[in-house]
């Protein structure tokens, strides 16, 4: 029997090739770091179960290849994601500029109310910085999403970033389900049932 959990959230990491998506995930799931660069082949995922407000949340985090040639495969996973981490490298201007393309990619492929978050990775390399923190913050405000600077190598903010995203999704769940819109669809009881006279057969259940 698998470990029980209350929620399963599917998260997705996207961003240009070499910004450190895999390393962030590696840090979060295994709390380790590997300096050698191994390009991700297509897709990969890691699992980590966290606990928020006494609820066990299983995070299935999809790591995608940043390379264009895997784009077909990676975009297929956008739709199932409840949360997406957009990652750029603070030492590479290009990767930051491309964020808006990734955002567009999300808009085209992901679910409309997917939770997004912007991460500026490699923040331990302050001397090689090309993108200031303010610019990152500015972009995040522009898109109305949260922003954090992280470092997979120095283990800065990685844990926090994922926890923030997960709790945002959880909050959204609660808001969605506890607001005045009950689930629509089959598992809800139809309003008409009150008005219709109860058929005597419906009471067979009391037997």
């Amino acid at each position: 029997m698998a470990k029980t959990y209350d929620y399963l959230f599917k998260l997705l990491l996207i961003g240009d090739s070499g910004v450190g998506k895999t390393c962030i995930l590696f840090r979060f799931s295994e709390d380790a770091f590997n300096t050698t660069f191994i390009s991700t082949i297509g897709i990969d995922f890691k699992i980590r179960t966290i606990e928020l407000d006494n609820k066990k949340i299983k995070l299935q985090i999809w790591d995608t290849a940043g390379q264009e040639r895997f784009r077909t495969i990676t975009t297929a996973y956008y739709r199932g994601a409840m949360g997406i981490m957009l990652v750029y490298d603070i030492t590479q201007e290009k990767s930051f500029e491309n964020i808006k393309n990734w955002i567009r990619n999300i808009e085209e492929n992901a679910a409309a109310d997917v939770e997004k978050m912007l991460l500026g990775n490699k923040c331990e390399l302050n001397d090689k910085r090309q993108v200031s923190k303010e610019r990152g913050e500015q972009l995040a405000i522009e898109y109305g999403i949260k922003f954090m600077e992280t470092s997979a190598k120095a283990s800065i903010n990685v844990e926090e970033a994922f926890l923030t995203l997960a709790s945002d999704i959880k909050a959204k769940t609660e808001k969605r389900m506890e607001a005045n819109n009950p689930p629509k669809g089959g598992h809800q009881l139809k309003l008409t049932e009150i008005r219709t006279k109860d058929s005597w057969l419906s009471r067979c259940s009391l037997l």
Binding site: F45, A76, N180, P183, K190, E193, S199, L201, R203, C204
Partner: protein
């Protein structure tokens, strides 16, 4: 999918569409790389496939988890009493001053007691103020299920495996889960759902869904309600397509199309967006791509078709499945579309739009029946052969008939006659179909022929169809429909789905047309709470069989309770000499608890008293929780409303149950 075929013909360069080019122009280096589309190497493919496999394990576990969540809610629903507005929906306690306080559930608006409900604090939109609302346990569990399964995000429950069917293959599981749901929904109240009849103008949409059903396999359509379930397959497709295609540029467009079409299945809410995206692709690609277009459009239409269904009722997979398979199986011109009243107004307008302008007649009928509880639907095909002056009526199928036994099933058959303009039945002998046993959704597929119908008669005559539940001890009315014959032409078959309405004079006539050779018996039942006993009053019998040489019988009735927990003795009435219509008015007591009665069966047998030789058997009647229709109703009424007599006529069956 025929990737291989595509691959073979894929060896020429195709200019990217304007849209792609424009997109690329906006992007700077690192992003646009039209030239470096190398194929996936075998080891890369393997790596990806291994990831997909790993993901499948997670998906399976998740499906089982969601299945458990669903099962939990279904279990609670199953145990709900639903005794009416004055009792708690769940535990059945009545409300009152000194009794449990009544609470109206916020979601289902039904009354529940405080014990069976929970209160939660909800927040007003974006403000800090909270408000307390009450939910019954079913609704709170349903909300919980939606939260935990991710249904809130995907706007519908993802695929799930019911715990029982956990060992089944992933492809087969939606069926298993669906069936489980259906069985839980076994006995809905007659009017629980508002159904809309939609008649399609032409067959194109249903036949196109047909086509896509074949090309994509059933599960694609059925599983479409969940995005999650499809992701792995999608990627498999993408991997395959990438491997096959990335060698050459023109294949990029194909890949886009491939996942575009898959995506068009995924989410009802966003489908329009992705569809338009998909359309844009196709138009942009221009010539040379015709090959795949047919398939693509098939998907698209199927997607829209699915849309109709899912919009109106995202609910049970079972219904959805039934509907889609129903659509596929038959290329009929009409289809059902269920929509729950709480569902979006969207669906209502949609089905209204679909209503064919020429189908005024069924529309009228539908309006006429709107006030009555719907008793189900009947699909009929009528054709008239002028040369023979014969009217062929094919009873195709009926759906959602009322349940007649404790298991929520019925044994329906149809009786047909033609009603003349003078409002009389044309034939004294009613035509009758065979009985389809143990179903509320029978497929009759039986043609009955009325001979001697003049062409001019058609204009103002009605075809009358009454459905009955077949039982040894009487045939209970299930529903009836009238079809105007003026629209029937000699050349073509007229196919129509009609709602079934309530009993009327003709249905009584139809019922009476069946003779009961063994006669009838009037029985009155009462559960006496003081004596804790079932009181059986044998009132009278009529039209009994004549067994003696003098043309009459000497009838008496034997009574027996079986299986009997209290070891009551058998009873018998006095003998009424030389009569076929004896009046007894004799009361008998059977000691029994109401609980026992749920398992017991009252067996009444009528005998002809013969002196000097063995008695002749005249007829039998059984009443109990295993009975059907009126008998079941009388039995249940007797338990539910004790200390009152419940009187009903029943037919006698020719076989002896005690033998």
């Amino acid at each position: 999918m025929d990737f291989a075929n595509r691959n073979n013909t894929a060896n020429k360069f195709v200019c990217p569409s304007d849209r792609q080019l424009a997109l690329r122009a906006k992007l700077k280096a690192g992003w646009s790389s039209s030239k470096t589309n190398e194929p996936l190497r075998p080891e890369e493919q393997e790596a990806i496939i291994s990831v997909i496999r790993r993901n499948e394990e997670i998906e399976t576990a998740e499906r089982q988890r969601v299945g458990r969540l669903v099962e939990r809610v279904e279990k609670i629903k199953l145990h709900a009493v639903e005794r009416g507005p004055n009792c708690c929906r769940l535990c059945g306690d009545t409300f009152g001053l000194l009794r449990p306080q009544r609470i109206i559930c916020e979601d289902c608006r039904k009354s529940v007691c405080t014990k069976c409900s929970v209160d939660i604090n909800i927040r007003y939109n974006n403000s800090e103020r909270t408000r307390e609302i009450w939910l019954c346990r079913i609704c709170s569990e349903t909300r919980e299920m939606w939260k935990k399964s991710g249904a809130w995000f995907f706007k519908g429950l993802p695929n799930y495996d019911m715990p029982r069917s956990a060992s089944a293959t992933p492809m087969a599981t939606p069926t298993g889960g669906g069936r489980a749901v259906q069985s839980c929904h076994g006995t809905p109240t007659r009017g629980a759902r508002i159904k809309k009849l939609t008649i399609r103008v032409n067959d194109s949409s249903s036949s196109s869904s047909n086509a896509s059903g074949q090309s994509e396999g059933e599960d694609e359509l059925d599983g479409a309600s969940s995005a999650k379930g499809n992701t792995s397959r999608e990627t498999a497709a993408a991997v395959a397509s990438a491997a096959a295609a990335s060698r050459l540029q023109r294949d990029e467009s194909f890949r886009l199309r491939a996942y575009g079409s898959i995506r068009s299945f995924i989410d009802g809410g966003e489908r329009k967006l992705s569809n338009s995206f998909f359309f844009g692709r196709q138009q942009g690609q221009g010539p040379g791509q015709g090959q795949g277009q047919g398939q693509g459009q098939g998907h698209l239409l199927a997607g829209q078709d699915y849309d109709n269904v899912s919009m109106s009722n995202v609910s049970t997979v079972a219904q959805l499945r039934r509907e889609s398979s129903f659509l596929r199986r038959s290329s009929v011109s009409s289809s059902w579309s269920f929509s729950d009243s709480s569902g979006s107004g969207n669906s209502a307008t949609q089905s209204q739009q679909q209503q064919c302008p020429t189908s005024q007649h069924p529309h009228q009928q539908q309006q006429q029946h709107c006030r009555d509880p719907l008793l189900g639907w009947l699909e009929i095909a009528i054709s008239y052969r002028e040369s023979f002056h014969s009217l062929d009526c094919t009873m195709v199928r009926a759906r959602d008939l009322p349940a007649m036994d404790a298991a929520g099933l019925a044994d329906p058959y149809c009786k047909l006659n033609i009603i003349t303009p003078e409002a009389h039945t044309k034939y004294t002998r009613w035509q009758r179909t065979k009985t389809v046993h143990k179903t509320r959704n029978p497929d009759f597929n039986e043609t009955l022929q009325f001979v001697g119908v003049e062409p001019e008669e058609l204009g103002n005559s009605l075809l009358y169809v009454a459905l009955f539940d077949d039982d040894k001890y009487g045939h209970d009315f299930l529903g009836a429909a009238k079809v105007c014959l003026s629209t029937v032409h000699s050349t073509s078959q007229y196919r129509i789905s009609v709602p079934l309405g309530v009993e009327d004079q003709y249905s009584n006539e139809a019922e009476m047309s069946q003779s009961w050779p063994n006669g009838k018996m009037l029985i009155s039942l009462c559960y006496n709470t003081k004596r804790r006993a079932l009181v059986v009053n044998v009132k009278q019998c009529i039209n009994l069989l004549a067994m003696d040489n003098n043309g009459s019988s000497d009838p008496f009735v034997k009574l027996q309770l079986k299986p009997d927990a209290h070891k009551n003795k058998k009873h018998k009435t006095s003998v009424k000499w030389r009569t076929l219509n004896p009046i007894y008015n004799e009361e008998f007591y059977f000691e029994a608890s109401p609980h026992d009665l749920n398992k017991e069966m009252l067996i009444l047998t009528v005998w002809d008293k013969d002196l000097g030789k063995s008695n002749d058997f005249l007829g039998s009647l059984q009443l109990g929780a295993q009975s059907k229709g009126d008998r079941l109703q009388q039995w249940l009424d007797c338990i539910r409303l004790p200390d009152h007599f419940h009187e009903k006529w029943h037919c006698l069956a020719p076989d002896n149950p005690t033998h």
